[in-house]
Symmetry: D2
Subunit: 353 residues, 4 copies
């Protein structure tokens, strides 16, 4: 029997509607490099979802190119980007930002999020002209790398500070759809557009085979963005492949339905752990669940399920990370819950907590 995986949210292919859309459009002859009618349609649907008619939208092949191209398209050589230590560009992109010549200034995150105070401290510590690179951008992720989401208030305060300090506010939205459908969220896509200078909407983790949609407000940056996409190797000849997928994702809000499913599956897992007395390292706001388990339970679960161990705690317990996605099956969640009950239920009945 194959073990079921809660290891990540990119373990399967694409949502069936996306595959159908690819098949349906397959033999239509289209111009290359994003000039096809599907990209046009996808842009139009995204603009509608944002509620801004002249938002600029570009499709790139993945999260790292979305980040490196966006950042390199905005910064001058001596300018730097501030990011949380846990931020994807700080920790998981193999020095991709530095490879475009820019320093990533690290700031401590709070539940994966950057606070205005952390940004201000980073700016202060990098203000020795011309011996420090010039802080010029703030990078945040929503949802963050641990699944937490920004509230509107948090983002407003951060955006205000950025304006005040002349910093470009850039949001990595690899998991924006689960963020915007989180119970903890109080923002719309339009809010994201209004409060940031540039952001992207992840497709890869939200039911597409690949692809992310970068949204840009500044027309000067937008006009030249295809140069950067081409130069960094992320302008597909068959741009249609991305256009078709995003058109489908934004048709009837498919992307948000898929995100809701992921969040719901995570909430079920999360509340089950709580119900059987297992503590969580962090509250579950989107599709990440971080239960704290004994080594024995972890090993037992590993026989049937795939997931990452996240942290070894000093008391010998282990934090694991379970991720859900658009493709998570109800029956697998059910099986996980049953197994957790078997393993933990007995222990916790009357013993722990």
């Amino acid at each position: 029997m194959v073990k079921r995986s809660f290891a990540d949210d990119y373990g399967e292919g694409a949502h069936p509607r996306i595959l159908e859309a690819l098949a349906r459009s397959n033999l239509s002859q289209q111009p290359g490099y994003g000039n096809d009618e599907f990209c046009t349609q996808a842009r139009s649907l995204i603009r509608e979802s944002i509620g801004v008619e002249d938002a600029s939208v570009f499709f790139v092949t993945g999260g790292t190119p979305a980040n490196l191209i966006s950042i390199a398209s905005c910064l001058r050589p001596h300018e730097a980007v501030i990011a949380a230590t846990s931020g994807h560009i700080s920790s998981k992109e193999a020095g991709a930002i530095e490879a475009t010549g820019h320093k990533v200034i690290l700031a401590p995150g709070t539940n994966g999020k950057l606070t205005p105070k952390a940004v201000q401290v980073a700016v202060n510590q990098n203000s020795m002209f011309p011996h420090n690179p010039k802080p010029r951008m703030v990078y945040i992720s929503n949802a963050t790398e641990t699944g937490t989401v920004y509230t509107k208030r948090e983002l407003e305060v951060l955006a205000d500070l950025c304006k005040c300090l002349n910093l470009i506010l850039f949001m990595d939205g690899a998991r924006l759809a689960v963020a915007l459908t989180s119970p903890a969220n109080d923002m719309s896509l339009q809010d994201i557009y209004n409060l940031t200078d540039m952001f992207w909407i992840g497709g890869t983790k939200m039911g597409a085979l690949l692809g992310e949609a970068v949204v840009i407000k500044d027309k000067t940056v937008a006009d030249e963005f295809p140069y950067h996409m081409k130069q960094r190797g992320s302008l597909l000849a068959k741009g249609r492949v991305l256009g078709i997928q995003f058109a489908e994702l934004f048709q009837d809000e498919l992307i948000f339905d898929l995100a809701k499913h992921a969040n719901k599956m995570a909430a079920e897992i999360s509340s089950h752990f709580v119900k059987v007395g297992v503590k969580l390292q962090a509250t579950t706001e989107t599709n990440h669940v971080f239960p704290i388990l004994s080594q024995r339970v972890v090993e037992a679960l590993q026989k049937d399920f795939v997931f990452h161990t996240w942290e070894q705690l000093p008391d010998g317990q282990v934090v694991i990370r379970l991720l859900t996605s658009w493709a998570t099956r109800v029956e697998d969640v059910q099986a996980l819950k049953v197994r957790v009950s078997q393993l933990v239920g007995s222990t916790t009945n009357g013993i722990t907590s």
Copy 2:
């Protein structure tokens, strides 16, 4: 009625077998970043086709990333790559190679191909230590940007010179499949492997949605190649998307069958032009046809077909470029031939040539 296009070889989606393979494998849970079983299978099939068991194979998202990552992974900062003026990296990649810090030293091409003499001259002109960057690599395309192919003898002589001058020989194979199935070709995939240091096999132009397979001999370069893929933004989270496609392309030699079809369609068009008395700017070796037509005929053809005008000749005639692909329909070629006969036949009967 929709005009039929001979504008390029990436105008349609993917070959149906590829879409089927994507659908078939869709719900299988796989690890990310190229560690899935489909990439493994595709690597194995490609190695088999090359006839070398330990060839290293990596899948990237497109031609420009294939070039920039391959080049950047081999060169030290002060090293340069020699390419024909008509080479893709010289003329169509928005300065992608320079953006990784390396100079592209231009050399004149002969029918789109680099000769040993041109390489030697380029090396001689860049030998003033340390005031010239150090020539360290030779970039060639096969088929070239105008559809010509290298003969085994040509490639052997070039490879010998490269060895002698300590130059890495790198082949851009965006159209390698049409090259290897060209009537003008006398090489196997194994010959390509043996005579170059690094090359890639294009999928985008040969029936895939996207993707190219980079083949590397040097184990030191290969071991670290995934770092470069990740850093330059071309390591897909769902690496499976590329693995599935290349596995299908190399199953039963599908890729070569598709290439043969493209070449056959081009040959038909080409010979028809010749038959009705139209001269070609270049002989048709693969899927490119360059007929020389009067402005009147070009305009008439443009009413029914899409293609690029390639060059205005001093005598007022026009060279157009017609490209065929795996997806070119026999009926469209037929329609084109009929229309050409109508437009040119009358003219040529007794008048021209």
Copy 3:
């Protein structure tokens, strides 16, 4: 006996007045990084010489850093600079511009100079958005790498075209002082300032130990220029070393007196060659002399003098390059003339025209 050298214009140390200025100021305690009083004084003298009170002036350590920092400070990643094939950045800087990420688009030079036509052609050939890098700057040298100078008319026409095409006009002035004191020149330093967007005044080849003064009109670029100087490693801790030298060079127009001497020495050599019947490959406009000599004469001259052989002509004759400088001694020019007369005089009497 030591051979006297006409090999280049950086063979000696510094003009004695510069050494004296360094000694005189030596123990004065000054702030670092260009904030010293000598830099302030030098900036003020240069502004006076330009006749523009708010021109921005920065001192860097050499010609290659002057070029690479100026270019990198102006261009966005996807932008390219057009230069003559003979331009220093094209041919002698080890790929320094490419190492900052930018393509150098080559254009044919006419006597080392870029014509508006050549620029226009280069722009036209790089206008395929977004597949070509965007031409955004034109690099010229005055005097050029072969000692020729731009006339005011030539520079005006080029400047007009640049404005029209939104191109930044940047002048490498490694030998600007000999250009502005050339008999062929009709421009002032103020003309240079008015007609270009950015230029630099060479110190290294004009009597300084090292150092070049970059002059910038655009305040936005100027405000951030020290970041680029620091980041590229050309912001000296003891910035005074450059300030002291430029203050001295611009005191009583020393720099132009030194340039006049170099030009005068070259003119004497040049006219002597002509007088004894030797043809020149190019007219001598500044401090470069290119006589065409027989192999026998070249070898004989090499016994007493050091110089570069420049080109082997098809008829067996040889072009040599003789360079003069602020430090060229009258007696050495005299000795050279005598020796030339001895070697060539007899030959030319009645034999060669």
Copy 4:
């Protein structure tokens, strides 16, 4: 009256012997770019001082170029350098290392020094192939940015770890001469050569107008080093300027005599503070003194002396930084001591310590 400065160790010009050497050699005609006889002589003297006949030595214009060129010449694009948070490349070089494409991985310093443990932790945290850049080099400074020095034992243990982890050990020696003449030092220049892979000897802060000498063991790196120097803009046309200065600095161990003077002046200041009861934030190992003073005393001292305030302590006291150099005058140290006694003596009599 001019205030005397203890602000830094690059406030004056050059040691008189250096100016004399420049004047003495001034009119000798020499080839450019480091091929002159003075560079040859300087290399020879440095090799003698190291005690290694075939050490490779190159002269660059400053500390930032020494660091960025050395690092870029060794690392592949995906490789990163580990440095203390207080390291010069981490904190004071405007992102110069990142501008060459490499990430600087921060590790906590201990008294400005990197411990093997900190290096090991940094490696462990960057071991997720290929999502982290590959740690490949360790950057240390000796003396550190706060004037502390490595002991032989410390360096040996670090060097062993680097060998074990395949890390290049690179030492920034902007203040190597004061380190090697510190009472806390137990290493020779030969030890530095043996225990590191690459290091540089600072001239700028040790009596030269400018210039640092990079010493390289690996012949492969050394052979190509001039390319990097040229490409990054640090290969002076008049290379002699650096050769003459280093030849003089290593003649009769001038550089170490100057360093001893700087250390002695610092020791006098330091012990005087201790004598009058002022605590130091750090022991004085080289030319840095960090007394902890009341705001009142700091302000009083600022009337006569220039120095940096280093840190505001929570209790309201202030740490200041006093730097001495080869040029620090005995009478200025005396004046400082007198003033300190006046200001602090009365306060401390009977009260503190």
